[in-house]
Subunit: 227 residues, 6 copies
């Protein structure tokens, strides 16, 4: 890895970013072709958490949060910090002081493929974090990494400036260039779902609503009575 | 596996089913001889969740929720859906649309050896789910499974119609034919526990309450002072 | 292992114990040189949990809670129970009856490298527990262990009488003899952090506050523009 | 659980049992409809291991191998021992002395949802074991379980007398009553595979051999050149 | 994901590919700046396995190996197949028939973020596989994926045509365009290591060979006698 | 943690150390009261591995092997290196160069709660290693740790100079002061086992050899015929 900090990154239009988090990760993930989802071991530390933003990416040595301090300087309001490690770690690489600094610079949240700490204070601050675990374990500041390079975080490729959408269902990555079309696809999907929800609530079966009966029969499904 | 849907299943008496969830999984599990408990990796997605019902079982291909749609049709009010996979999966095979459909048919909850999504909406709906994880990952509808066949779910054997009792301590399976005797055993156990709780709250030691001192001494336990 | 119960253990001064939990595990862990932290798989069963006390240690056979009953007798008000197993276990070795007994004797909480159950009742009681999992699985009372011997719990060495500090960030062990100096180091750290928090909240960068720029440049960090 | 030992169990015809292990677990598992496979965390302790037999089942308390000693008495030559635990365990519940006893009674191998030990000696003896882990950790003999009751072992239901087929690919359970038809289905499958192997070895593509091209195109697969 | 097959991919020079596997994954990974290593849960199924080649990538639905059959057609001699799944899977998605087909087309090995089966036959064939697990569990052919698109496999980004180097230490990905410089850096590193090996074998300490003493002292390391 | 290197450590008598590895870990672990066993996730990298020695302990930052180089200087012939990390790591913190250095100083093996690499070369060298995983991932040399302080390694407490016994069944720690009595207890146990092995090989049941029938009946075990 080259130990670089990339200063200027592309960012999607703010109105697209805002639309995507309203739709929610499950809908966005479906709308963009079931792509870009991080592994489900990343969990929000607070009930009801939701955040979105342009990804400022960090690649850090496990147990070393030096590059997080470096990254703050290149964050802009509306960004979200995405931290990957060069090897798996459950160290508490992020706490309330770094959160205070990020809030001061308008950062909307943190996604970290490691742990965070000070979660009670973070909850009071209303700062959302998605992490692999929670751990009081402190970190050193000894080894360089990189900021705003492409990273693999929790199994998903993240390029700097990609739109991150995160809520209680997980974290999804929308490529920066696809934000506009993702919003459109999301709208279409939400409308379809709303119509379907009403019919399902009235008792109509998904078997009929989605016209599944013929395909099921063709595939060989049979119905029998209990012995 | 035969790709069948079994239409009619035995069900325990509703009053027995209701009694068991009042007792709670820990008590029921003890009362039926420490049997039938699913692995603790199944967790409720909401604090305070509790549900019970007659098991409608689903065996699904990982990442494919076709058979869940099929299962809705054979559910009756008071049933609970139990979903096992043919191989381990953390895909989000269940969300708010399927929950809307289940609620419309009187189903009381879901136990799934995979993930669910739309958890914020499910919380608003008050629909309880026990799952292995939470994931926005969507699923296909391509491969048949079976409905109302015996399944192994999270390490426990579930026959269609077995009584499922689920709360914050886990999920326990009571064979349909044993529901009445389980209620009886549960009552006896709850009375004993209530009496013991009072004596323990007054400061009486479990060592004395349960007459453990002789057995401990016979087994060789010795008491020493700190060096 | 010798099957012994050690009756009298050293204990730190109550005012030191109380100070440490106010500081929180992350601060205490840092203040004592990044030592003594249990693995992060131990989690509190309730949001907002915090506890402290002198460790009464238990070494138990997996799936057997006999020695927990033995341990209650040697607990004093202000103690916290720390349970290690001779082999990994996720059994529910602790529930509301044992909690009732511990509360009656002034015990402040439980740290267990296994599972607990009756978590809804424990929440109503306000009794804090840190455990590896939650499980309704019951236990036997058949095999001896030991009480108040040194144990390894969730990866950390605990000697009887060590100060346990536990909150939402994890569980940290402070050697009994180091409690006074730990309090002092914690105070110094908290003051430093409070000053830093204000400067970070005002927008000052950690890069400047902690004088990192020279070291980063010396280590070879370079800044580039996005291609 | 009832603490019983069931003395006489049904057994499949020896020639069927022998045929199935020759076919191998992957073929048998396919031939019986992709059923009955234990989770892949069960691994043989020796390269090249393969075994088959009628299942004598044991349900044991974790860390307690008392019931394994009980089970030896009801084993017959050609049986294989299948050990499930009431809760997850990695204790070394089986070693060379028990293996010596099993060999003396004609038992062909061991499948255990826990650990074994003395693996160097077991290799010299040529006694095959499939286990979750290898551990020197010893066990107690304090709590009853059951012998020859239905058990869930590594995620699969095993009834006493079911045919167990185990090799380097895993462990599969064939219901006793299905042994004859399983042999037949296995033969048909092996013949088909042998024919296919020759055509594939000659360079013919699976796409053509299995006539996949039309279905792929219908499903929407498109071919493009690299940008 | 778009369901595409990309027919022509870039490939590095064969002599570079051959050089890299001779150096071994540990050396290559260091030589390219500690990049590109897959997670260590991928293990070779045979002792002594080593392979290299140009990556033909597959993105498959878990439990569905349809796209592996598709991929064979676009493989060229000297390629290595790299299979990622859209969600975690331990199914046995690859066996001896597919291996026979790959061998017929000159493919050098398989890296799969799932399981393989028929490992005894694969060993006889001398076909190397790196997988997450070994499992007899069979798969369906029902859902499209993609061939020769960028994939994240076991935590590492793989572009079609990247050089894969795999041995008993793991699997490393060298970007196609970096193959020549990687060979050069590898040579330099191997020469340095060879010189160091001789000096270390003669008893010289790494502390002296690498001039560590001053830096250790400056960092604060102190030497004491045992109490 | 204090960043110290302790130069002189106690060591057990060489003849006791040699005796213990001949007995094997399973026997030693039993002979010393089922104590001191590391978790079974530590595995030897080579079939047939066995080693023993006096523990030189290392506490290292994850992903940083600086302290291993420091430790070599204080090793004496017959020592074994035991490496714990301050947080979980799967990095390849040890390879053939460090092994060459250890061999030059008479060190008998390595136990590391992290990964090693160059395993093919280590096998050729005949240098035994017990590790959590195998990984080509390289490490930095940036942060101090400690040498010859008490450490918790894979769940077991190790004091410098303790006797480490390691083989295919795992790794056991015998306190230095207990080496002589451990040898004695091991001899007694081996003799008993040898006598029992002969009787079991002749077909005598463990039920009779160990006089279990009365205790089993008293505990309530019943025998029934298959329905």
């Amino acid at each position: 890895m080259k130990n670089v900090v990339v200063r200027n990154i592309p960012r999607a239009a703010p109105e697209h970013i805002a639309e995507l988090v309203r739709a929610g990760t499950a809908t966005v993930h479906e709308a963009i072709g079931r792509n870009g989802l991080m592994q489900p071991y990343l969990r929000p530390i607070h009930t009801g958490a939701a955040a979105t933003g342009s990804a400022v990416t960090v690649l850090a040595q496990p147990g070393d949060n030096w590059m997080l301090h470096v990254a703050v300087e290149v964050c802009r309001p509306g960004d979200i910090l995405v931290v990957a490690c060069t090897a798996p770690s459950t160290d508490g690489m992020f706490g309330d002081l770094l959160a205070t600094s990020l809030v001061a610079h308008g950062v909307t949240g943190l996604v970290i493929d490691a742990s965070c700490r000070d979660v009670a204070t973070l909850r009071q601050m209303g700062f959302p974090v998605w992490s692999k675990a929670i751990s009081a374990r402190g970190t050193v500041k000894a080894t360089l990494g990189a900021v705003n390079v492409p990273v693999v975080c929790a199994g998903a490729l993240v390029n700097p400036g990609d739109v991150i959408v995160a809520d209680e269902d997980g974290v999804v990555v929308v490529p920066c260039a696809d934000a506009a079309s993702a919003v459109e696809a999301t709208h279409a999907r939400l409308q379809r779902e709303e119509a379907n929800r009403k019919r399902l609530a009235s008792g109509e079966l998904g078997l009929d609503l989605y016209n599944m009966r013929d395909a099921l029969e063709a595939a060989g499904l049979t119905y029998v009575e209990h012995a």
